[in-house]
């Protein structure tokens, strides 16, 4: 094994081009587990800790450019207003020690369906900034997850940042697990209301081979809100609409039975989370903030 320590982003890209099999390591909270347990013996480890800009973020007029290695702790502490959904999800990642090291780039690189950031990323409609010596490209999040633990990155590409639209409405995140800390999601649900475009976006975690959106649920809800004039009136959403939204969200799942939960339970729980998070975000849109922050 070789340990590559690029001092700059350009050096990192050059190293990845020269050694496409190199495994990037930033927080190490996924990669080191695999190495400790002998599940993985990469030929090269590519340490990204020295590249300071990966741990920085910029809040622009419309978007936040979030460096791939910004630790979850920093997202929780600094970006709750701009990225409420992701901040909520970040707070559910493992433990303080892990949140101090792990970042969104790792979740995206690993592309596990259980990554806590994915539902919020999908719901926000962000883009992933990927780069190689060949150039830079923006990958829409909807095209990023291509299979179980597989993403759209080319072998020579690295994730530099994620560009997330600043929230234009309430966002929520909910996750099912056996306790609050140190839990791999049994399943998870993220929702973002986008009043500016009068759309709703969602993200489902741990309930399909990849993180997925509940597109039919989104379309149904957007149409129902539009037809009923709810965006203008701010009236409560009728239970029938919420129920249908929940059923469609359940239907978007394609889960498996495993040690954490059964497929049937996951479908059920996603529906419940969809209904609840819709309720919370809509109440917030109507001007009634929720007091408790847990599901």
């Amino acid at each position: 094994m070789d340990f590559l320590r690029p001092a700059s982003w350009e050096e990192a890209l050059a190293a990845k081009a020269e050694h496409p099999t190199a495994v990037p390591i930033a927080g190490g909270t996924d990669v080191m587990v695999e190495i400790n347990f002998d599940h993985r013996r990469p030929e090269y480890l590519l340490d990204l800790n020295r590249i300071g800009e990966l741990s920085e973020w910029e809040v622009g007029e419309k978007t936040v450019r979030l460096g791939a290695s910004v630790p979850y702790t920093k997202i929780m502490e600094n970006l709750r207003t701009e990225l409420p959904g992701l901040a909520l999800a970040s707070h559910t990642v493992a433990s303080p020690q892990i949140r101090n090291r792990g970042g969104v780039g790792g979740n995206l690189g690993t592309a596990s369906p259980a990554g806590d950031a994915h539902p919020a990323l999908l719901a926000s409609g962000c883009e992933v900034e990927a780069e190689s010596v060949r150039g830079r490209r923006m990958i829409p999040i909807d095209e990023f997850y291509v299979g179980v633990k597989r993403n759209a990155l080319a072998p020579d590409e690295l994730i530099r940042s994620v560009h997330l639209p600043k929230a234009d409405g309430p966002q929520q995140f909910s996750k099912v697990g056996t306790r609050n800390a140190m839990v791999i999601a049994v399943c998870a649900f993220g929702i973002a209301l986008h009043p500016e475009t009068r759309t709703v976006r969602t993200g489902i975690g741990s309930a399909a081979p990849t993180p997925v959106r509940a597109r039919e649920a989104e379309d149904f809800l957007a149409a129902a809100l539009e037809e009923g004039g709810f965006w203008e009136s701010g009236n409560p959403i009728p239970p029938s609409v919420a129920k249908q939204f929940a059923q469609l969200a359940s239907g978007a799942c394609n889960p498996i039975d495993d040690v954490r939960g059964s497929a049937k339970y996951r479908r059920h729980a996603v529906g419940i989370m969809a209904r609840r998070t819709l309720g919370w975000t809509w109440e917030s849109y109507r001007g009634n903030e929720r007091s408790a922050q847990c599901a």
Partner: protein
């Protein structure tokens, strides 16, 4: 490969480090610092918690090569670290913000070998509250709890639970551990009050 970094105020060097080796392994097996415990090796249990440039992390998940040139505090250095902090006003003054001790401050920190071993306030509180059972989780809990009190000198129970949520105690003596953190916080407040601060 060779890795050089600062541990508890002293520059340390390790040779022939395997590229996939963890910081925890280097500390325990190469530097003779077995205080940080090796249990789950996957970040679940927190018994290997150390401060890396002031930030609490699981040392089993930090690759040794990532620590080159950086600053590590382990439970072995906790008493000196706490003393240094107290002498410099610590975070009770609010001077060091949310990121804990600055790297510059940490660089000026020096261990004083040969002095009789004093305990940090959190270590003393663990003993006084009976928060140590088998002791395996204790080092990680001490480092995590000390960092909590550094940035929050009067934590709520929820704050304590959250700060320690990444540390498992399989004797399940959590109540005493919470008592110990409350005790250390209370003593810290009394001390500050006594100084008229």
């Amino acid at each position: 490969m060779r890795v050089t970094f600062t541990v508890n105020g002293r520059q340390q060097e390790a040779d022939d480090v395997w590229e996939g080796e963890s910081l925890l392994y280097v500390l325990r097996e190469r530097m003779g610092l077995p205080g940080s415990k090796n249990a789950c090796e996957q970040g679940e249990c927190g018994s290997c918690t150390v401060r890396l440039d002031g930030v609490p992390v699981c040392s089993c998940l930090v690759a040794a090569g990532q620590v080159e040139g950086r600053d590590v505090v382990t439970v072995e250095g906790l008493a000196d670290y706490a003393k240094q902090r107290a002498e410099h006003g610590g975070c009770a003054s609010g001077a060091c913000g949310s990121s804990g001790t600055s790297i510059d401050a940490a660089k000026q920190w020096q261990a004083k070998p040969g002095e009789s071993t004093e305990l940090s306030p959190i270590q003393q509180a663990f003993i006084d509250a009976g928060a140590v059972q088998c002791g395996f989780c204790t080092p990680g809990l001490l480092v995590a709890a000390d960092e909590l009190l550094e940035r929050n000198d009067s934590p709520s129970d929820a704050d304590i639970r959250e700060a320690l949520s990444g540390n498992l105690c399989r004797c399940t003596g959590y109540e005493k551990i919470l008592d110990a953190v409350r005790l250390a916080a209370a003593r810290g407040e009394n001390q500050t009050a006594g100084q008229g601060a």
